[in-house]
Each structure stands twice: as C-alpha cells, then as structure tokens.
C-alpha cells in the first residue's frame, strides 16, 4: 500500500498500462511536454517518448476521432479532454462514431479507447467549466462511463478502462486532485460495473459517485445515530444494479446524491429502476439530491448553494429516516 494523491493515481494508472502494453498511447492538449494542465501525465513523455505521448491542437472533435481511428486499427489510445464541459465539442465523435462503431460494423471493428476528462465542479470555475454531464453519456449504448472518487478507484477504473475493448469515458474530480488515499499497487484493476459498498447499514442506502461521493462520506460523519449503507457507484454505465438493489432491499430507503442537475440526471434512472424492482417494498420515497436546475454559478457561496453539500446530505438522510421512526 502506498499513499498517493488523486492525480498521482491517474498518472500511475497511465504509466503502468503504458509499460504493460506498447499499444497504449496518449494524446491531448498539453499532455506531453507540459505533462497535462493539471499534471496528470507528468513524466509520461520522458518515459514513453514523443511517438506515444503527443500534444495536440485544440481540436477536441478531431482528437477523439483520431483516437477512434487508431483504436480501430490496433492501438489503445487515451485522450484527455481537459474539462468535462469541453466534451460537448467532441460530442459527434463520441456519440455517433466511437460508441457505435462496434455495433455498426457487427463486431468487425472495436474501439478500445479512453476519453479522460476532468470535472471541476466545486472549484469556482463558472458555468462553462463546472458541469457534471455524465447523464448525456450514460444514455448512449456502446459507451461506458466510470468515475473514481478515491485515488484507489480512479487508478483501478482507469486501468480497467484502458484494457476494455470498447470506448470508455473516464471522469476525474478536480476538487479531489490533491486528496490522498491508500492505493494497493499490487491490485490491478477495479472492474467496470462494480459499485463499492463503503459502509454497511440498515436504515438507509445512500448512493453517490464522483464529486458527490467524498461529500457524502463527510455527511455521514455527522450522522452517528443513523445506520447508513453507503455506496459509491464508481461505474455510471453500466451501473451495478445488483449491488444497489440488494442494498435497498435491505434498508428499504434510498437517497441518491450527485453533483449533476437533478432533472433528467443519472439519479432518475436509478430511482426509476429501484422503484420498479422494489415496488411495495420501500419504506419511504426515493429521494434525489443534486444540483439545482441552472447552469453552475461562479461565486463561491452561490456554487455552494447550487451543489449538494454535506449538511444537505445529512439533512436529507435524517428527513428520510425520521418519519418511519414513528411507524
């Protein structure tokens, strides 16, 4: 076990996979000589050379499309799209091309590629630099979406994504960039599609991921009296139905917390599915906590009011659990 910072875990994952497999290549804006805007690819140019690690023009659509073509013809590209918001510029290449190529070719081609991107919600970066857009990609068949909230998970998921034979959107949290966590370097990957049960509990299941996950952990520290089963979803698509359903079956209650806008967010799919599968067996309505229906504001206290905070999460847990104490 080593203590790594979140960004170092990203760096380690890429380094290890590039060492393991010469077909893994990396390109994107400022990833090579500068080592990444936020340092995620530090040292990789030196380690693997200018053929495998390249700086690109600011051309997100072509970056993703180029990764796709290289993936279809033998490579395993990792590309970085600096902020999650900028993924919109490459939307066609992700949604219409990369996600569909395996299906459209009836398996003739595969697209083993990873689009790494960084979500800056909580860093006061304003409306075009703070979005949580995972719902847009979860809806697209052919694409997988992962988001590790700890150094261990971000490393393990990225390694799994690099080895996956299809396109994976791997999201990272800028607010966690320098947070430290234990990473077991002997452990290889975190399998895509597996949620992590962080704490066992009986009163309520609290499900979160990405930037919301560490806030949920903090919220729970305030909630000594409630027995919470805390789950970090880790993979958004395909999501781990079995783990979530088993937990809610036990607790009878579900609170979903994400930093994305609530309306039409990923929480909706989970709430709809759990509501259907556990119909008549829930102790209280499924609640969703997320960002308000607005672009992300810049001013710190506005952004704090906009995104769910630990205190909001704790309050939501209490509200959900309290009524049934009276039954």
């Amino acid at each position: 076990m080593t203590a790594l910072k979140y960004w170092q875990a990203v760096n380690t994952a890429m380094r290890e996979e590039m060492e393991r497999d010469p077909k893994v290549i990396l390109f994107g804006e400022d990833v090579a000589a500068p080592g990444g805007s936020f340092g995620a690819s530090k040292g990789l140019l030196d380690a693997f050379g200018p053929e495998r690690v390249r700086d690109t023009p600011i051309s997100e659509a072509t970056i993703v499309g180029t990764a796709l073509g290289a993936a279809m013809t033998g490579y395993r590209p990792i590309v970085e799209i600096m902020f999650f918001d900028f993924v919109a510029v490459a939307m066609d290449q992700i949604v219409n091309q990369a996600a569909k190529v395996s299906y459209m070719s009836a398996g003739g081609y595969a697209a083993p590629m990873v689009i790494r991107t960084i979500c800056a919600a909580g860093r006061r970066t304003g409306p075009q630099h703070s979005q949580n857009l995972e719902a847009l990609f979860a809806h697209i068949p052919g694409l997988k979406v992962v988001w590790g909230s700890t150094p261990a998970d971000v490393r393990g998921l990225l390694k799994a994504a690099i080895r996956d034979d299809g396109p994976v959107l791997a999201i990272e949290s800028l607010v966690e960039w320098s947070s430290r966590g234990e990473v077991d370097e002997a452990e290889d990957i975190v399998p895509i599609g597996s949620a992590a049960v962080r704490t066992q509990g009986d009163d309520i299941t609290v499900l979160s991921w990405g930037g919301a996950a560490p806030k949920t952990v903090r919220a729970l520290e305030e909630l000594g009296d409630v027995s919470v089963e805390l789950i970090d979803l880790r993979t958004i698509s395909p999501w781990d139905r079995d783990t979530v359903l088993a937990s809610v079956e036990k607790t009878g209650r579900l609170l979903i917390v994400h930093d994305a806008v609530v309306d039409f967010g990923v929480g909706a799919e989970i709430a709809a599915t759990v509501g259907r599968e556990l119909f008549g067996r829930l102790r209280s309505p499924i609640e969703r906590l997320g960002a308000l229906r607005a672009p992300a504001p810049f001013a710190p206290h506005l952004e704090d009011a906009y995104l769910p905070q630990p205190s909001d999460i704790a309050a939501a847990v209490r509200d959900l659990v309290r009524p049934s104490d009276n039954t």
């Binding site: 051309s59 066609d92 459209m104 070719s105 052919g142």
Partner: protein
C-alpha cells in the same frame, strides 16, 4: 506544395482492363441498386455515386489491402473498389443477415474490416478524423501503410476538415484526403456553401501537399493517388487530392433534381468516366469485344448477387443486442 506530375501516366493493358472492370462494377451495382430502390426493394435512403466511379477506382487501385479508407453516405463505389464483397454489399442494402455488417448498418454506415474499409459514414465529415487515426496507427506501426479519407465538397464546410488537415500535417501522417468535388452538397451548389470552391487552396496553407485532379479520368486519378500513396509510404506526410467530378443522380434516390438544368445534366454524360475510359482503352488497342465481355461478366455477377441476396435470410433479430459492446466486454 502543388504536385506537378512530370510524366504522363502510362499503364499496362491488363491493369487498364482491371480499372475498367472496377468502374463498370460500381456503375452496374449502383444502377441496379437504384432500380431496386425505385422498386421498393431497398429500405431507407440510398445515395449513388454514378458519375464518380473513376475516383473510387483510381484511388483504391493505388492501395494495398492493408491500407484503410473511410468513406461517406455515398460510399458504395469506394467499398467495392477497395475490395468489399459485392454480394455482401448488396445484402447489406437489403438488410439481410448476409450483409457485410449483417444488416445493422445499411448503405450509409457499412464497413468491412477484412479489406480495410473503416466505414461509410452518416455524418458529413465524420469519417475524416477516423482515417487520420488510422494513419496515426500506420505511422506508429512503422509499416508503410497509408490511410485515405473520402469526403465531398460539402464536408469541407465542417470544422473537422481543417482540424484534420492541420493534425495530419503537423504529425506528418501517411494520410490521403480525397475530396470528391461534385459541385453539390445535397441540393446546394458548392459556390453557395464554400467561399472558395477550389478546395486545394483552402488546405494548401497548412503545408499539406495538394493536387487538383480530373476526377473523371481514371488514369489521372490513379497517377495522382499513386504519387500521394508513395509520399505517404515514404514518410513524407499527407496529401490532399481534389477530384473534379460529377454526381449524375440526385442527392438521394428519389430526388427530382429540380435545381439542375437539363443542359447541366446532359453535359455530364460527356464526362462519363466509364465511357471515357472505354474509349481510352480502345485507343490503346483493346478490342471492344473484350470490354463487352467484361461488361457481360459484371452484369452477370451483379444479377447473380441480387438473386442470391433475395433468397437470403433477414438479419437475425435474436442477435439484435450483439456487438453493442465488443464481445468479452459486454456491459
């Protein structure tokens, strides 16, 4: 740099006949497809490249099997010329299980990894970066493979065009951009959608090698493509070839082409790439009978393919969810 060919292209008779067969196969395949479509046999939309056969044939004849191409909504010709199986292509248009992509993709999205066809593409410009990526793979492989993107004048309006020219030039990729300038994007003339209709001029300042070619002269196409391929194989970077060509039919089958004058439509037949090359071969001493024989063989091939395909089983609905994720990595 503009490439100025120093010698007139020359060609052996055998190869000349192969070029003719390739063009005529495209012609016949598409004419048949048009008839089948009109007869309600083919679902969806189809876009024919009749009048543009020399581009597909000339470019693909300069390529090896392991070279890759990405194409467009108007891609039947490129796929056939690149070695795509004619019967499988036809079966794809029908939506049969025996289609090259098992009826999942159809005319606009078909691909064939066995002969380096990265895919037709339903998104104008969408296939260009894909070909750039394959050129990157070729460069990394260190093999002398090249990658081609076919696209139309309309695609030049999409930002990925200049993005891709920029990237391919910066990275000196073994990439060939083949623009089929057929004077229209759908129903809109090129001068209405491009501020400069000479596409090589738009690309030239990036430092990419460029060449304007009579796209209806298969020898000229072959010669220009051969030069571009050689540049690519030698590691000298990308080339853009602008092919002046003619789209005979409407944008899609069923388009009545009200926006084109009778004269314009008539004038195109003067530039018929198939007839031109037939004449060229006869001038080279080939006898008409050999050409008639090729035509008859191709006609029989297409006819036979249609007959086989008609009897084929439809796409398997029970495998509808296969290959959404690559096998072994199912979601």
């Amino acid at each position: 740099m503009t490439i100025t060919p120093t010698t007139e292209p020359t060609i052996a008779v055998d190869q000349g006949l192969e070029l003719y067969r390739s063009m005529f196969r495209i012609r016949r395949f598409e004419t048949t497809a048009g008839e089948l479509f009109a007869g309600g046999k083919l679902p969806g939309f189809i876009h024919l490249s009749l009048g543009q056969e020399a581009v597909a044939t000339g470019v693909c004849s300069a390529l090896d099997d392991h070279d890759t191409v990405s194409t467009t909504h108007r891609g039947h010709g490129h796929c056939l010329a690149k070695g795509g199986d004619l019967q499988q292509m036809m079966a794809e248009l029908y939506g049969k299980e025996g289609g090259v992509t098992r009826g999942r993709a159809g005319s606009m999205h078909a691909s064939d990894s066995s002969v380096g066809i990265l895919g037709a593409n339903g998104i104008v410009g969408g296939g260009i970066p894909m070909a750039v990526g394959s050129a990157l793979a070729a460069q990394l492989d260190g093999k002398s493979r090249v990658s081609v993107a076919f696209f139309g004048d309309g695609a030049v309006g999409e930002g990925v065009f200049t993005e891709s020219v920029n990237l391919a030039t910066l990275w000196k990729l073994p990439m060939i951009f083949v623009c089929e300038n057929n004077g229209y994007a759908e129903l809109t003339p090129t001068a209405v959608h491009l501020a400069n209709t000479r596409i090589i001029e738009l690309a030239r300042p990036y430092g990419i090698a460029v060449e304007a070619v009579d796209g209806n002269d298969v020898l000229a196409v072959l010669a220009a493509a051969t030069r571009a391929v050689e540049r690519g194989r030698r590691g000298e970077g990308p080339t853009l070839l602008e092919m002046d060509t003619t789209r005979w039919h409407g944008h899609f089958e069923g388009d009545p082409q009200r926006y084109r004058s009778k004269e314009e439509l008539r004038a195109m037949t003067d530039r018929d790439p198939v007839a031109t090359w037939r004449t060229g071969l006869i001038e080279l001493g080939v006898d008409a009978e050999s050409l008639d024989a090729i035509e008859a063989e191709v006609a029989a091939e297409v006819q036979a393919a249609v007959e086989v395909v008609e009897l084929m089983a439809p796409s398997r609905a029970d495998e509808l969810l296969r290959d959404v994720y690559p096998e072994g990595n199912r979601a």
